[in-house]
Symmetry: C2
Subunit: 239 residues, 2 copies
């Protein structure tokens, strides 16, 4: 079987989401401390890391991470004061995000090249639908994808079968004609394998590095993809 579709994870596969979140958290710390937040020490970098850790714990997509961080670290603060400080953090965070959320190097030319090869492209992500679309538009790559399946579309997250099967069904192709690319082996690789898709690990984007991704291919750069597909498809035709 030849590969006709590539299914991408979004965060840390197409965009360097974690690095953006880390830098933006530090900017938010600086802004909140500059506006008078007393987080017990004067070290902006340390507070930035703490906020990033709070995000990971509290939910990386959460909208109330700053308020809950302030309440945790300054339990006696009045609600209006907490909001005035959180607002400083959110403004700094959003400014940093706007500057820093960009596609990994090689993403755009690779999407152009894959599209030119006649492949159908899709996204399967555990992000909420509206945030996923905002990110795709922000990155300037929304137009490339024939299908975007989010957490909201099936109510299930990877590695469950549903989001993968939903994408395949919308595109009308069978699992062995699809290759999944993602940074998170336990979710992306395991989930795609379970439905019979081929797999590539986005090692360049993985937040926690893995020795054994379990994927058929390990990508150091997304630009390796077109060559891999060409090789697979040449071999497929030869059989």
């Amino acid at each position: 079987m030849t590969v006709k579709t590539i299914v991408f994870d979004l965060d840390n596969t197409l965009a360097d989401f974690m690095r953006m979140k880390m830098v933006a958290s530090r900017e938010a710390a600086a802004a909140m401390m500059g506006f008078g937040a007393e987080f017990g020490n004067g070290d902006v970098d340390a507070v930035g890391e703490e906020i990033f850790g709070h995000y990971l714990e509290h939910g990386i997509e959460s909208n109330d991470a700053f308020i809950s961080f302030i309440q945790k670290r300054m339990p006696d603060i009045a609600p209006d004061k907490a909001e005035s400080i959180a607002a400083a953090g959110v403004v700094a965070y959003l400014r940093a995000k706007d500057a820093l959320l960009s596609p990994f190097p090689g993403v755009v030319p690779t999407l152009v090249r894959l599209t030119g090869m006649g492949l159908k492209l899709a996204v399967v992500t555990d992000a909420p639908r509206f945030k996923a679309w905002q990110r795709l538009h922000h990155l300037g790559i929304a137009e490339f994808f024939e299908c975007v399946v989010t957490k909201c579309d099936t109510g299930c997250t990877k590695p469950s079968r549903e989001p993968f099967e939903r994408a395949l069904s919308i595109l009308g192709i069978s699992a062995n004609e699809a290759l999944m690319v993602g940074d998170w082996p336990e979710r992306d690789t395991a989930g795609a394998k379970a439905v019979g898709m081929r797999t590539a690990h986005a090692a360049y984007g993985a937040f926690r590095k893995t020795a054994q991704s379990g994927a058929e291919f390990d990508l150091q750069n997304i630009k390796e993809l077109p060559g891999i597909i060409e090789r697979i498809n040449r071999e497929g035709e030869r059989r």
Copy 2:
């Protein structure tokens, strides 16, 4: 009595909120139409104006204005498609806002000068608390104000007495020691007068121009304020 405090309205008095909203609405229209929204005609400027009008009608601070506009203009659209289009609009809107939401010319030097004259500065706004603080931080002027009273703090909007009285009480000054500056005569001027404050009309920011503001002073530029206060206070001392 001398003037010891200046109370400012926020939107259209310190920042050109309406112009930002108008331009950003047009950018959102362009992005949504570029992403395939069919609003019945191909005129981006006309759709931009329609979105801005929808904002005015639907609530200028609303968070779901784009989704509700899409649903109104494309009633048969699937919810996931509507979100994918709205996301394009929100991203373009936020980018434009980030570039365009800035203080009126003269605001920052005027705030510096008034602070240097020993005056206490406050904000009384009908915006929700978190949005008001985000805007102040975005504008880079949050630090100037000893007190920010929002819609959320009293549950009342101007021209009711509560927000004005709340600000005076926090600052510990009497109404006749305070001057209110705002662009909306029916709310800012009328409300401030009712509690006994002096009034200046921010004519430079008024969305709908008024021949008779009813205020003691009409400002063509916010820079006129320090001179007015000096004159009032010289006369007050002479008596």
